[in-house]
Symmetry: C3
Subunit: 291 residues, 3 copies
């Protein structure tokens, strides 16, 4: 399974960053304007928004894509017609490959920090969404893809894929809030073992430990998500939201209190020589696999 | 499944409350004195107390009934012959329907606060009981009935009933300490999903997720509870109690620190126009169902 | 199943203690030097250390043995060739019977406190080990034996033995950090019930609730542990360690903050007349069983 490399575009963004923040922001907006890697469709009849990730080759999460995700999540949350959000992928066989490794390899420090902050913001938004969120996992979902899935209210997955926080396999470490979401999903023992081993669970294994909630054939993932949504819509929205907030708030507040500390920790860890060397070798191996 | 409406008696109690507390207390005592809705039997040979709820139609928890429950729990805890307590129901097909909705609809504020405080006290007592507590769940056990069940040390249930914290289905929200007890019973993921959806689990489902511990036929629930008690009696009582206290204390202390805050939160939430309207419609629908 | 009584040697150690600490330390070193009850073998090819407990009759944890354990754990952690540690037993049918009751019965207070501190240190070391730790449980593993097992990263057990924190059965209480490790292993509900009842789980039951991870025939326990180790060795060590530390640190820090308080609590509890009487009767019953 591949972790995506998307070098195009990053160079330009880096140039923007080097000048100043406001220019960078303009730059980001332009990128956003020129054909989004996200398809967002809101059905005003059903009240269901479908957000489909469409960023070849593997929906890897780089700064621009995370920024787009944040904009989409905000749109959905602010749209009073939206009662539910389904997150899925338009790329065959991959939900999302997770964080874009090229963001971490030989990084511009300002961008690296902005990248991490944008990831934090995406998660805070997604984990705390008032509307019902369902992950329609129609492909592999490692690392950041697994984080996004776990942050939804319900997970439906197609067979023969893998999902998990496999960071240690690449020599990096899932941040504490990735771990916290996994703790909330499968409990301490499974999390402790999965994080140490960087386990990628096959669909059936993921179902067995409760990492996902339902398995349906590939072609039914989206319709099953639509159908599942109806079960959640039956509940008065304000009461359901309050119940969700009450339970998830402590986990979100833990990161809110440590955002800057977490950014600093990530920056210092990822820029270590040993980690950079390890990431370089990994990227090289991906290039060779592609030839 | 019905949530009970018991309008008789409440009017009188409210009049008492309006005058002053001492009058109210007298009033409560009189109610208590005149035929209790609780049968408490202590078998001095076995050391087992059986507390059977007998408040037609559905053992709904109103202020007077909660007060009676508190008195009974104290009696049991202070009775040195009592080593174990079985809580069950004398009403066919219902363990307890939970909180009496009429306490929350168009409430007298003083009584509303007293109602909630008495509920808090009941739970603090029950969850922290030194003696062994077993719920013999011989009927439906939604909402507050589920709370009582979960607060015991062991749960035995008859088939073909339901149990769960279904508050959101009525547009209200289980307070944080209901959620905490459920977290302690079935873990975060099941709690998060069950609370949002207001899930009422069938007996077998409840067993599968660990919400109850054992299923036996209706007519054997009580004897199975008596038998189960023997397993707990084999353990030196002081060591068993200390183990229980050590584990449950943090959950109890969390509420103790926030009692008044929790009362205020409940009062402000329940008296909102939208919630009152919703409760009114619910009560109306119950009346119509009964016709 | 027996809890071991080892009276030989304790008297001498007590004499040392009564003089002063430095003398006691000399004494301990001499004991250590004269034939260790622990076999530690490091295979520099595989990077696996095997620590086999060999203290007849039942590998009970007294002050001297815990001290030896601490020395061995430190040796392993400081040996750069060691990537993994397997803990097992050389005594047939017993992994470890847990704490030596004779340490607690009619104790010298200084030694009692030193005993408990050494136990705390052993656990802090073992639960926080940087290298991979696997318990090869080839015999009964009650109380302290269960603690040691649960503190490893992975547990492989032979059939037809028992494991659990059975302290309450002896009228004593597992300290909070024993409970914390069990919470981290099998969750709140199972812990709460197991601690109250002092449950000793049979191998298969232990597997079902997640208290152990794998069951293999008696003669394959050690080789299965060696094989399992390979799965963990595939992960970059520093990333795996950081993941482990991040998750286990809060549990370890909780004890670090309360070490002295915990020692005092243990001392005061264990020296109570009722507890001493109960331990005395238990030791007497063991003697009679041996005859």
């Amino acid at each position: 399974m591949r972790i995506g490399i998307v070098t195009s575009g990053l160079g330009i963004a880096r140039q923007c960053l080097r000048k100043n923040t406001s220019v960078y922001r303009t730059c980001r907006r332009q990128v956003t304007g020129s054909g989004s890697p996200l398809d967002l469709n809101v059905d005003s009849k059903t009240g269901i928004a479908v957000l489909s990730m469409n960023k070849p080759p593997v929906n890897s999460l780089n700064l621009e894509f995370l920024t787009e995700l944040n904009i989409s999540l905000e749109k959905v949350e602010n749209d009073k017609q939206c009662k539910g959000l389904i997150i899925t992928s338009s790329i065959p066989k991959i939900f999302s490959a997770g964080l874009d490794i090229t963001e971490m390899y030989q990084p511009d420090i300002d961008r690296l920090e902005e990248f991490w902050r944008t990831l934090q913001d995406m998660w805070i938004k997604l984990y705390g969404m008032n509307c019902v969120t369902i992950a329609a996992i129609n492909g592999h979902s490692p690392a950041g893809g697994c984080l996004m899935s776990m942050s939804c209210d319900y997970r439906i997955m197609a067979p023969n894929y893998t999902i998990g926080l496999n960071e240690t396999q690449l020599g990096i470490v899932a941040p504490f809030w990735f771990a916290d979401v996994m703790l909330n999903t499968v409990g301490f023992r499974q999390t402790e073992m999965a994080l140490q081993l960087g386990t990628l669970f096959k669909t059936e294994e993921a179902l067995n430990i409760g990492l996902i909630d339902k398995v349906v054939p590939q072609e039914e993932v989206l319709s099953a998500a639509q159908q599942e949504m109806q079960r959640w819509f039956k509940i008065p929205g304000f009461a359901r939201q309050l119940s969700k907030t009450e339970l998830r708030r402590p986990t979100i507040e833990k990161l809110l209190k440590k955002k800057e500390e977490d950014i600093g920790y990530f920056r210092d860890y990822i820029t270590k020589d040993a980690i950079q060397k390890s990431l370089g070798m990994y990227l090289e191996s991906l290039k060779n696999r592609r030839k």
